[in-house]
Amino acid sequence: MSKPNPTDRLYSRDHEWVKDNGDGTAIIGITDHAQEMLTDIVFVELPEIGKKVAKSDPVAVVESVKSVSDVYAPVGGEIIDVNKKLEESPELINQDAFGEGWIVKMRLADAGELKTLLSAADYEQLVKEEKH
């Protein structure tokens, strides 16, 4: 059973979450449901700080033993920080996908893009539909 999806953030259809810091920056990660599907994560390929990505561009890569998945930017912007702890401990994503397992922090290019994302409730609905 996945952990409940926090209501203090928004979600994409590709199982990423975005937490708006309110100051033009946001933190991005993948959901607990996503980490469950991936199973044990063994490696995270983080982007360079300063890299500019558009909405839906691949921004990171998450590897498990048997699969490789792109993490897509739910909104566009410039990468201003990455979670370096993931280099030594990629399992943080499995253990705490919504907290310690955050992946990148970015300066948003267009805060309006947040409106295209899903609420926690809508995301939960999406996950339910996918299961069938």
């Binding site: 044990d40 063994v42 490696f43 590897e63 033993v65 048997k66 990629p90 399992e91």
Partner: protein, 480 residues
């Protein structure tokens, strides 16, 4: 078991070096101190310990000679011993690749005839034996397709690949700068013709098709598929990994394939060697012959020679001539079996696969309940639903019964896939006992699932921590 480094002791050695019969030379003067290495850290063991080390290692390994190896898509048939004896004849092992052609007439004849036999068996115009493995052959074939369109000045950046394809297919396409587009399968496991028609445009160089496909099913619409691809000027590439299903029954060249690669270490009985060496000959139709890799063998009268004079060749894809000694074994196999033998091999391979399919289908989900070819694909879905026993657990439990597991989790379109390819070299008794084991495991999955999840229970090591191996990779031993 200890590593060879852990049983080393300074001053020991197994192989000696003959004393020099020429004057010694001051190495520092001859070479220069800066070019000399400072230390050489290799194992130091006596021959008896060396032999025991590797012999004991071999006893922790499982080969076809030990037991049934039903790996789908791998054609783990018996490796005839006469092939091994022939392959070590000094006449075959002793020649330097740059020996002059006159001295290599036996080798050249063998390779030339092999190309002719393969051309006949598969209905192609010409073959190259240069690729060292199936994937290498795929790359070669795709390169020839690329060159073909280059010469015609046609820009075709796309290549179509079915969702059932082996991973080497899209990887090979990408390595030649093609963009791969996935082609859907229909509910019968064949090509979705409508989807193919919508995807096939003048931007598409071709379709890479495995026939029979990785579900073990023959493409019933092959004529239509070829028509659609050729109709828009594209080429049809055939992945011949499953050739064991149709030797003497049908020929890819007749079905419309323009280029195919084979795997001698599958269909033609050469040993897998723990991962290689293999050999991946590539056959082409007449319009692609000029693009074959060089050098190529030409026959003048009764003698053979190498020639590089083919201006439209894609060039070389390997040094020298390919995995020659592997070709020797495959050639020997073809000579021993002859036309009838190869056809019987296919017939028995397909019979064996269908026999297993019928015996196991009451116990495991069979996604495509129709006559299969040389392999059948089940799904472990039922066992997952019952008690959370996954295909990987079933595979590991089979090990306890003395079998190498079948191929698992492939093809990707079948969830919890179990792909079984018995090959023709297995007796009815072996198949019966294997089916009994699979049925016993199906029952265990129902009655005592934890036992299956804990498997294997009888091997030198139990399930290994692959996550640790990937998180903290240790691929080189370090002295502590």
């Amino acid at each position: 078991m200890e590593l060879i480094f852990e049983i080393s002791k300074p001053g020991r050695n197994a192989a000696d070096v003959t004393a020099s019969d020429v004057p010694a030379v001051n190495i520092e003067d001859a070479i220069g101190k800066k070019y000399l290495r400072k230390e050489l850290d290799l194992p130091e063991v006596a021959e008896v310990d060396l032999v025991r080390h590797y012999t004991n290692l071999s006893r922790r390994n499982f080969g076809v000679d030990l037991g049934f190896y039903p790996l789908g898509s791998c054609t783990m048939k018996y490796n005839p011993k006469v092939n091994e004896n022939i392959a070590v004849l000094p006449g075959f092992t002793g020649l330097h690749p740059y020996a002059d052609d006159e001295s290599a007439q036996g080798n050249l004849q063998l390779m030339y005839e092999m190309q002719k036999y393969l051309s006949n068996i598969f209905g192609m115009a010409e073959f190259t034996l240069q690729p060292a493995a199936g994937a290498h052959g795929e790359l070669t074939g795709i390169m020839m397709i690329k060159k073909y369109f280059e010469k015609k000045n046609e820009k075709r950046p796309l290549i179509l690949i079915p969702d059932t394809a082996h991973g080497t297919n899209p990887a090979s396409g990408a390595l030649c700068g093609f963009e791969t587009v996935t082609l859907r399968s229909n509910s019968e496991g064949g090509v979705d013709i409508d989807h193919l028609m919508s995807l096939m445009t003048k931007d598409v160089a071709g379709l890479m098709l495995t026939n029979p496909n990785t579900l073990g099913l023959f493409e019933r619409n092959i004529e239509k598929v070829a028509q659609i691809v050729h109709g828009k000027g594209g080429l049809l590439y055939g992945d011949g990994a499953n050739a064991n299903a149709f030797l003497g029954k049908a020929r890819p060249g007749d079905l419309g394939f323009d280029v195919i690669q084979l795997n001698l270490h599958k269909t033609f009985s050469t040993p897998h060697g723990g991962g290689g060496p293999g050999s991946g000959p590539v056959g082409v139709c007449a319009k692609l012959v000029n693009y074959l890799p060089v050098p190529r063998i030409i026959k003048t009268g009764h003698s053979y020679s190498w020639s590089g004079k083919f201006p439209d060749t894609i060039g070389r894809i390997r040094s020298f001539y390919g995995n020659f000694n592997v070709v020797v074994k495959a050639y020997t196999y073809i000579r021993a079996l002859g036309a009838e033998g190869l056809t019987h091999a296919t017939e028995m391979a397909v019979l064996n696969a269908n026999y297993i399919k019928e015996k196991l289908k009451p116990y495991f989900d069979l996604p495509y309940d129709r006559v299969c070819m040389h392999e059948c694909v089940f799904s472990g879905k039922r066992q997952v639903a019952q008690n959370g026993v996954h295909t990987t657990d079933i595979a590991k439990r089979l090990i306890d019964f003395g079998y190498h597991p079948p191929t698992i989790y492939f093809p990707l379109i079948v969830p919890e896939a179990i792909m079984i390819e018995p090959t023709e070299t297995e007796s009815k008794e072996t198949l019966d006992t294997f089916c009994d084991a699979m049925i016993a495991i199906a029952n265990e999955a129902k009655e005592n699932p934890q036992r299956v999840k804990d498997a294997p229970l009888t091997t030198p090591v139990s399930r290994l921590d692959e996550v640790l191996a990937a998180r903290k990779p240790d691929v080189c031993w370090k002295r502590s």
